[in-house]
Amino acid sequence: MPYLVHSEEDRRAMLAELGARSAEELLADVPGQLRVRGLELPPGLSELETMSSVRRLAARNRTYEDRFWFRGGGVYKRFIPTAVDAVISKPEFYTAYTPYQPEASQGTLQAVFEYQTLIAELTALDVANASLYDGATAVAEAAMMAVVHTGRPEVAVHPYLHPEYLEVLRCYGQGRGFEVRQGLEQVGERTAAVVFQQPTFLGVLEDPQALTAHAHHHGALAVACVDPISLALLAPPGEYGADVAVGEGQQLGLAPSLGGPHLGFIACRQDLTRRLPGRLVGEAYDAAGRRGFVLTLTAREQHIRRAKATSNICTNHSLCALAASVYLTYMGPEGLRQVAEVSYQRAHALADRLSQLPGVELALPDQPFLNEFPVRMFHVEQSLKRLEAAGILGGLPIARWYPEMEDVVLFCCTEVNDLDAIDRLVEVLGQA
């Protein structure tokens, strides 16, 4: 059988050492009425057969050439340097456990320390944790930090926070016992946090300084959910005074993979450090004065504080954080800026071209955007079908979340969408 290591002879030898006649004797504590005789699953397969059956399933999914992805909405197609996969494919990283024994885990620990620094630099905040599951749960964790920190029972959310993030936040709120209000009109003394996304789910840019001031005016924390690549160009949360920054790190070197595994990140001001959820890695020294790294401030965590922990997080998304670190280190400040800049320029060129098509117009023409923008168009469904037939993953129709925007499609452009692909998209859409 694949992956098992004992011969029958080994098993007999081990049983003999135990003085047991059969493996059954070791299971004597399991009441007889609970015993099942195996599992009703198909028998095992050779690797050849396994991979062939798995490949058949993969082949039944439609894939698109990278440059023909014009769909975002929280998951984006970006250029991923080969270095990223080469590093996260190293078994020394991907087959290690959470670094409980620091002397034997310095590779993971140092990589996480570097990751924490990278995220703190990007967001211009003081400290970042070792990672969370995804952007949605990062928003929820930040909201819970604010509820505990302020002792207030409500969280106010900008109307165009990613709708799935909002749904996850509500699910956490119902469990933990805080109210989630969509809209910022009722921010007041019951508000623990004002949560906003920059750019919004619709891709457009808000005035984050004003939103932060609005939160602070009422004594609430400002929680900014940000796109990490955008921070090469846009003001980071630390510059406009936000207290907590969170976001989805998929764009930093992770495959789309039908939505996961990706990366939640969270960073905050120094004085909120002890409210952070999850793991933190810090510097430490051995008796010989050598620098190393350890899991630290664990008194916040579930294995020490149990019911009083800041969060229940144990396994987080360490390998995804490693991917993000390799990506950001490979890019450096100039590379990241170039990625953001090319995406910005091409998205604006695309927006210009699209808005010249008959029956197509920008849905929010007066609002600045970065590299994703809403377009109003006739015959949304047929148009997207036509694009698909041409091998193009067109924009994202958003009526499922916003029924009042039934003719709105969110288009996105990144550095992978070359000029030929943009021409082709415009050409196919223009064939109506």
């Binding site: 081990m14 699953l41 039944r60 590093v87 140092q110 051995d286 019911a307 604006h348």
Partner: protein, 483 residues
């Protein structure tokens, strides 16, 4: 041997990576108040320098690919490389979550079939694949149980957790707004049924249990416990951290558990990644099915669809459909193993644990009577006269080329040393591990100071964690900046 940080190696002469130019006419600039003032201090390194840095960091790590990882409760078994290849197939890795479901029929079928397999293994009716990790699964299950009671007009405020439970259990319950009530363990390490009876009431929403428990012992009276819990209207929750003991032997659902979380990164060989990503699906019995997170994957007329129209659903617990890449790996593993292979895996895991336990008789204290299931807890308290602690044994093992068992957990055993060998370690490896522990215990008796000075040959010696926590340095700072 330590490695400079990327930030310390950074040098302005490193050429930035070559990336495409926009090739279009420049768009108008954004308003200045939206723009960044000071660029982020990302390191500047060339690609060869980046690769060398991470290769060196990799060499500082211990991993299951290299040797035995007997970390109790963590099920560090071999991670099949075929799984990795499967998850990287473009037909899985290059899918957008908002593609038309008609274009991802293979992915949906994989999720549907994985759900069916997990239902069979755990003895439940439906499974959600959405939770991202074990603790996330615990919390998801408790949210469903909470919603179930509320739908019946009952506001139950307490969750009972054994004193030997994983820390995530009480933390997940608290995160759900429950008051945590602790139930004691009896001297044999199993739940104290008398104490449980005293703590059960109509305020209790659920009892959270691990079976085998964290001592590696099967809760023999599980059917009695289940009856007691259900008689009060509460639900029984199964922490799946120890499911590796039971595949094809018995099923949590048959024991009376109403909700069961499973760690794909333990039992189903998806790699642990140095701390995730994992995946924590939750299985439930019929009366909790309406509360499952949405969307679920359904099969209609031979096609697979995502069903979001679930009026009683607790909603979403994360974005999209869970850690899909991990689902592909677990599915691949289950395909390869089959029902017969999984059953043999659990039997071998139990055999290996009992074998190592036997080999340690007379070496360490074994406070609980065997046989054990897939893991066991020893105690280093027999070395107290020499002033040697479980931590010293752990460091001694690192020095001898093994990872350390889980130490100081469960909390109810002093100087706990929790060993989980798994089914993928050969008899020779298990023997070598037992011999190494024997040697360490011998050293504890003859030269305890030497043992306390270990490890000597790893990249760093014992690090001062107390000082690290007292004066936390959680990031690198550019020269001249404080903090």
């Amino acid at each position: 041997m330590t490695e400079e940080l990327t930030f310390e190696k950074s040098h302005p002469s490193a050429p930035p990576p070559r990336l495409p130019e926009s090739g279009v006419e420049a768009a108008p600039r954004l308003p200045a108040n939206l723009l960044r003032k000071r660029p982020p201090a990302l390191p500047r390194l060339s690609e060869p320098e980046v690769m060398r840095h991470y290769s060196r960091l990799a060499s500082l790590n211990y991993s299951i690919s290299e040797n035995f990882y007997p970390l109790g409760s963590c099920t560090m078994k071999y991670n099949p490389v075929a799984n990795e290849q499967a998850a990287r197939l473009p037909g899985f890795a290059e899918l957008h979550p908002y593609q038309d479901p008609e274009t991802i029929q293979g992915a949906l079928e994989l999720m549907w079939r994985l759900e069916r397999a997990l239902c069979e293994i755990a003895g439940v009716d439906r499974v959600t694949l959405q939770p991202a990790a074990g603790a996330h699964g615990e919390w998801t299950a408790l949210r469903m149980i909470q919603a179930y009671h509320l739908a019946r007009g009952e506001e139950r405020s307490e969750v009972i957790v054994p004193d030997a439970a994983h820390g995530t259990n009480p933390a997940s319950a608290a995160l759900c707004g429950f008051r945590v009530v602790e139930v004691k363990s009896a001297p044999d390490g199993r739940v104290d049924v008398g104490d449980l009876e005293a703590k059960l009431s109509n305020r209790v929403a659920a009892l959270m249990l691990t079976n085998p428990n964290t001592l590696g012992l099967f809760e023999r009276q599980i059917l009695e416990v289940s009856e007691m819990v259900h008689a009060t209207g509460a639900k029984l929750y199964y922490d799946g951290a120890n499911l590796n003991a039971l595949m094809g032997i018995c099923r949590p659902g048959d024991m009376g558990f109403d909700a069961v979380h499973m760690n794909l990164h333990k039992t189903f060989t998806t790699p642990h990644g140095g701390g995730g990503p994992g995946s924590g699906p939750v299985g439930v019995k019929a009366d909790l099915v309406p509360f499952l997170p949405r969307p679920t994957v359904e099969r209609e007329n031979g096609r697979f669809v995502l069903d979001s129209e679930r009026p009683h659903s607790i909603g979403r617990v994360r974005s999209f459909y869970g850690n899909f890449g991990m689902l592909v790996r677990a599915f691949t593993y289950i395909q390869a193993m089959g029902g017969d292979g999984l059953t043999q895996a659990s039997k071998d895991a139990v055999l290996a644990a009992n074998y190592v336990r036997k080999r340690l008789e007379g070496v360490l204290d074994l406070p609980h009577e065997g046989p054990c299931m897939h893991e066991f807890v020893a105690s280093a308290r027999n070395l107290a006269p020499q002033g040697i602690k479980a931590l010293d044994l752990a460091k001694g093992l690192l020095e001898r080329g093994f990872y350390a068992p889980t130490v100081y957990f469960p909390l109810i055993v002093p100087e706990a040393v929790m060993v989980e060998p798994t089914e993928t370690e050969s008899k020779a490896t298990l023997d070598a591990f037992a011999d190494a522990l024997k040697e360490i215990v011998e050293l504890a008796r003859t030269d305890p100071d030497e043992l306390r000075a270990e490890p000597r040959s790893l990249p760093v010696g014992r690090l001062d964690e107390v000082r690290a926590a007292r004066h936390p340095v959680l990031r690198w700072r550019p020269d001249g900046e404080s903090g």
